[in-house]
Symmetry: C2
Subunit: 329 residues, 2 copies
């Protein structure tokens, strides 16, 4: 499969318009005053299903529909935002969907996935779930929608940045978190076409830094085991062969420790009054690192990827009071 281009992102944005919200962009005048720069946030946590993932999922299905190639059934393996997006998108196209996940999936995520109309099959371990989805995908008429390593998924995820750049016109830097790299590489395609002078910068948890290691070594490196990080949306074991060549074109990449992830989750929830996931709040550590190198007032765009956080993570995030230390540059 060939790499997606900006044309794919642009086509995706027209294609998915009936299915997704054009999410709002907000800023915090207090944060801007403290930083001495402007930071704009594209709120994909207010997207349907609570995350940007619906963009890629609906794009794949709408693209197949254009070619009259919609499948009879859909399968996917995920315990997170991808599962909910697939469940919701499959229902939009009236296709039965089955999500393969593990028994420790939170009850709230399971309830949402089932509410959107998908069947949920639970397994003891992740490898068992992954094996089961592979077998299910062999049945004729079945489409297995991967979470990021698919040209139309990448193109769909890039539509968040495309919309934001249409609205903001000019920015100096665009920031997104990196899990498998779907959102970040789609963001790169959109930005380099619409605002070529802007830098595109990624962020990843230091505790799950496979993408940083891959960029350093020039080949795709996997995590050695399950990662322990607040930024669970960025704990993906490795990037994909479609996302990696795009990630190699980034202008910068930051690895963020767990204290910084908790710090920025608290501050973005407080300042924006939005229930922001650690995975995207993390990106603010990259923004600050980047701004510190820029003497002139600059304009950053951050893609806030989602707002699905379980109670255990919220407890961890708020266990130390970081609101006592304002982010003054």
């Amino acid at each position: 499969m060939s790499l997606p281009t900006f044309d794919d992102v642009h086509a995706a944005s027209e294609r998915i318009q009936p299915f997704v919200h054009r999410t709002p962009i907000v800023n915090s005048s207090l944060l801007d005053a403290w930083l001495g720069h402007q930071v704009f946030f594209k709120l994909e946590c207010l997207q349907r299903t609570g995350a940007f993932k619906l963009r890629g999922a609906t794009n794949v299905l709408a693209w197949l529909k254009e070619q009259d190639q919609l499948p009879e059934r859909i399968v996917a393996n995920s315990s997170g935002n991808h599962a909910q997006a697939i469940a919701y998108a499959a229902a939009l196209f009236d296709i039965p969907a089955t999500i393969f996940s593990t028994q420790n999936v939170s009850r709230v995520k399971a309830a949402a996935t089932e509410y959107y109309g998908a069947q949920l099959k639970l397994f003891t371990t992740r490898p068992e779930a992954d094996e089961a989805v592979k077998m299910a995908a062999e049945e004729p008429g079945t489409l297995w929608i991967p979470p990021f390593n698919h040209a139309q998924i990448i193109a769909g995820q890039g539509t968040a940045a495309l919309e934001a750049l249409q609205d903001l016109k000019q920015v100096d830097g665009v920031f997104a978190p990196c899990g498998g790299g779907g959102l970040l590489s789609g963001t790169l395609l959109a930005t380099k076409a619409l605002c070529p002078e802007a830098e595109v910068i990624g962020a990843e948890p230091l505790a799950a830094n496979d993408a940083a290691n891959s960029l350093r070594t020039g080949e795709i490196v996997s995590l050695e085991g399950p990662a322990q990080t607040l930024a669970d949306g960025a704990a993906t074991p490795s990037v994909g062969d479609l996302t990696f060549p795009l990630l190699q074109q980034l202008d910068g990449f930051y690895e963020v420790d767990e204290v910084q992830i908790a710090y920025w989750t608290q501050w973005l929830q407080h300042l924006l009054k939005i229930h922001v996931e650690p995975t995207c709040a993390m990106t603010m550590a990259a923004v600050v690192g980047w701004l510190q190198e820029r003497p002139q007032p600059s304009k950053a765009l951050v893609i806030i990827s989602g707002g699905n956080i379980d109670a255990a993570k919220m407890q961890q995030i708020w266990s130390t009071d970081y609101l006592d230390q304002p982010p003054v540059l």
Copy 2:
């Protein structure tokens, strides 16, 4: 001073339009499916300064300006949303403001109040701060803006419900939390004029139930000491002589325990992806109590009063996992 009327709310809505956001109204399709009813949320946490309080504060000053009676300086006593609203509103009208508060005010609230341009005077105890503001208010040219017991404050706070009812047209019930009663009595004025068939219902923490006791006994009763509740915005010692006669016209009033307050704060943050204060999330316990008595599908409006929560409160709210128990009716 005479009681405010709907005409005052209507005049306030025209008057404050240049100064406040017309905040969005959202709902959760998942919550609506679980409840079997529709619940709409007016998001005053996305108001400037993070709470509805700016409506009353700007209304007082704009109303004085119409009569060419703006003061030379403004004082107020508060450690919460009222302080930030007064600081912001005073700056809009270019009037110096001083906020009298206690030393335990959170650093983040202090920083915001000072960022908005007000001077902050800190005292060891609340009675000392209250005494100091009273003395400061005696200086000629000084206006002391109270948090709720003022006709133009009540009228201003009522504009949130007015906007929401203009947008939604018809609802069956309107819900707001009760601290001093400014928001709730303004909401009553707006609703009884614009949607007279709708019931207006208040909610208060069981641990700070002075308003419920006042309504039961028919006279204003004060709390005996400082209240321990997650819903700090509703921990006001007593309602006022302007709000009480309006509160007596309510169609219902609920007292909510701390578990219910934490439960609904978790669920509203999760479902709406909004950083909702316990003080307003509490109101959902009243909504559910009311809906349980209504066999026919009904439409409720909840005024989400604010989103300013300190880290200690967030830690308390998330210390137990309530997301494991979906709010299914």
